[in-house]
């Protein structure tokens, strides 16, 4: 056995206290301590210090058993004011604004088509692009089925499943470039987590960020519209804070935008690539309210575009989307009155905010929870009746009551998720208390609502997450978690609209992760 120096012994005593010695080092240290009185005394002192600290801390804080009851009441009351967050992916946000006019045109076309034909399926297929060989489109996603996080790709028809990173390090959160040729992702293969680029087959790997700091893609599509830059967050160990940056895909021109409280700031590029919006918590009285800021892509002119949102209204969702000209942002804010004794009532509103923050225009308002607003139609959810309502600007509306499909009709454990496509269509998953998941499709203004599958997807403790539409609206990928196992599914929506007996493809076997994103290739 190798003897160790006194200096090394002292270092190893500390490493042992932190559980950082391997078995061989432990044996070497113990042997040294047996023969070295001073080191043994130091080790005893340090062990005594550990015990002393533990006792002192427990004596001081254990008797204080927990937060006051007031905290519980305050948190639950205020938490109820956060009914919906992040329903649409930030990736979708980026493009949805650019597509707004197209959606309006499609919606008009859609209504006209509806008048011409009584078949909702026929209309449904009309609104999707006729991309040739749509099944060739690739989906990139993260899976840990081989024991560590790797990025896989698969064609929309389920063929060609490939582990494209195939590396023992952590590789996750892929996002396709706008031209569909490159994939941005996170990896810690070089020690710290950095942003990398690779081709669709994993070749031509390039590390974009550098330095001894953690870097992350901030939960949303990081690509600028022209594919020349990426948004990322960097953790500065010295300052111990996250900062939002842009960087060229060549790793040059790293530009700080703003400090953010964490990686969940939902940044998105304006359609013209000139601005970046992101959400921030801002103190308002005794609360932190969610607000939206916009900064120039060069890091200048940081502006709170929500400064005229009433002080008592919080952003209901971190979803917001850009206007097609990139000059304004649409968002949902509101207040929830849980105790109506004071005569107040809940209020939700859709607003349009200009980038200079000087104009805020109310587009729609409701006392029912407003999930989002799209081209003049508010998408509402009643927590009491568990019903979805599409309320159009002319006052007409359609309603979906998925609870009626649930056995026992017990609404206490009803859950739902939804995602709007780039074209405005909605994919809705409604989970019954018994774990049955029913899937629905609706057009942008809710004039057509259709159940996608004849039978529910059933599993114990089932939950649906990470819904991702393909850009042509033909496919949806989503994660289903049950008993801590998560699988990725692909549903051919176009086929299911025509034949509800269609079944979704299961792409991973308990190796998925519910909170990793998946990303569809923009063009096959």
């Amino acid at each position: 056995m190798n003897d160790i120096s006194h200096k090394q012994a002292v270092q190893w005593i500390h490493r042992r206290m932190d559980g950082l010695l391997n078995k061989s080092q432990l044996l070497s240290l113990e042997e040294h301590l047996r023969s070295c009185d001073s080191c043994r005394a130091y080790a005893i002192n340090m062990d005594g210090l550990s015990a002393h600290l533990q006792n002192a801390f427990h004596r001081r804080w254990d008797e204080n058993s927990g937060p006051s009851q007031n905290v519980m009441e305050q948190v639950t009351a205020k938490a109820r004011r956060i009914p919906v967050t992040n329903r649409i992916s930030s990736g979708a946000k980026l493009v949805t604004g650019a597509m707004a006019l197209l959606v309006l045109a499609l919606a008009i076309n859609f209504v006209v088509s509806r008048l011409q034909s009584s078949s909702p399926v026929a209309n449904a297929t009309e609104i999707v692009d006729n991309v040739s060989h749509a099944e060739d489109r690739l989906l990139a996603f993260t899976s840990v089925q081989n024991g560590n996080a790797d990025i896989y790709s698969v064609h929309a028809d389920g063929s060609g499943l490939t582990n494209i990173t195939n590396h023992p390090a952590y590789d996750a959160n892929p996002f396709w470039s706008p031209d569909g040729k490159r994939i941005a992702f996170e990896s810690d293969r070089n020690g710290f987590t950095h942003i990398f680029l690779m081709n669709a087959d994993g070749s031509d790997l390039f590390q974009v960020t550098n330095g001894k700091a953690q870097h992350q893609i901030p939960s949303s599509n990081p690509w600028s519209p022209d594919g020349s830059s990426l948004i990322f967050t960097e953790w500065a160990p010295e300052d111990e804070k996250w900062t939002l940056y842009t960087i060229g895909v060549d790793g040059q021109n790293k530009t700080p935008l703003a400090p953010v409280p964490n990686i969940y700031s939902y940044p998105s590029w304006s359609p013209d690539g000139k601005h970046i919006a992101f959400s921030m918590l801002e103190p308002q009285g005794d609360r932190d309210m969610l607000r939206i800021y916009v900064v120039d892509a060069n890091g200048n002119e940081l502006t709170n575009v929500t400064k005229f949102v009433p002080a008592d209204e919080d952003l209901i969702s971190t979803d917001y989307f850009w206007s097609s000209d990139g000059q304004s942002i649409f968002l949902i804010a509101g207040r929830i009155a849980w105790d109506s004794a004071d005569g107040t009532s809940s209020r939700y509103a859709a607003y349009e905010a200009t980038l200079d923050g000087e104009t805020l225009t109310e587009k729609a308002a409701s006392s029912t929870q407003m999930n989002d607003w799209w081209g003049g139609t508010a998408f509402l959810f009643s927590s009491k009746s568990k019903a979805f309502t599409w309320l159009r600007s002319d006052g007409t509306y359609n309603t979906l009551k998925p609870l009626e499909k649930c056995e026992g009709n017990n609404n206490s454990q009803f859950g739902y998720s939804y995602k709007r496509s780039l074209n405005g269509n909605l994919f809705i998953g409604a989970t019954c208390p018994n774990g049955d998941l029913w899937l629905y499709w609706a057009n942008p203004d809710g004039t057509l609502i259709k159940q996608l599958l004849n039978v529910p997807i059933s599993a114990l403790h089932l939950s649906l997450s990470n819904i991702t539409w393909s850009p042509d609206d033909k496919f949806v990928a989503f994660n289903i978690s049950s008993n801590d196992l998560t699988d990725l599914y692909i549903l051919n929506v176009e086929a299911a609209l025509n034949d509800p007996s269609a079944e979704p493809l299961k792409m991973t076997t308990g190796g998925g992760e519910p909170f990793y994103n998946s990303s569809w290739q923009p063009t096959p």
Binding site: D18, G19, H52, A79, I82, T85, I263, S417
Partner: protein
Amino acid sequence: MITMDYRLIELCRVGDLSAIENFVQTYQQDVYRLALSILDDSNEADDATQESLLAALRSLDAFRGTSSLKTWLYSITVNICRTRVQRWKRSERLRQALGGILRVQSVPSVEENAMENESGEALWRAIHSMDEKHRIPIVLRYYQDLSVPEIANILQVPEGTVHSRLNTARRQLHRVLKEGSL
């Protein structure tokens, strides 16, 4: 390996009231104890607990599951407590500056109060005199009983940094012990 209750998170995400209460009920104790051990003041810990749980509920939809829910929640709580400590330090500096200029008696701080209540305890004086970079790892290690990798995950710093900070803090505290102040 993720072990949290996806169903609970999913229900919280869509605003299910009983799920939100369940979430708060499940985690409030742990969050409070962590906040109390960093802030060492029950009122401050109450506020920080409230703020942390609300911040977590607000961000649940973006929780990626790369760490456990508890680690993620601890990370949020530590950041919120840090902000509170920094806010307190700023106001304390201002108070001291004003006290110097106007010769006004400054109000005893949270930490001074704690120290006075535990007068004679040099260990506490030493702990309170540490900066957060060293104090928080010590608390996480010896009160929360967390491993170095867990602490590194919460503080978003490399494991070596955590070990180094623990070393520095332990040496300082060992010196206090050695000087026989206890």
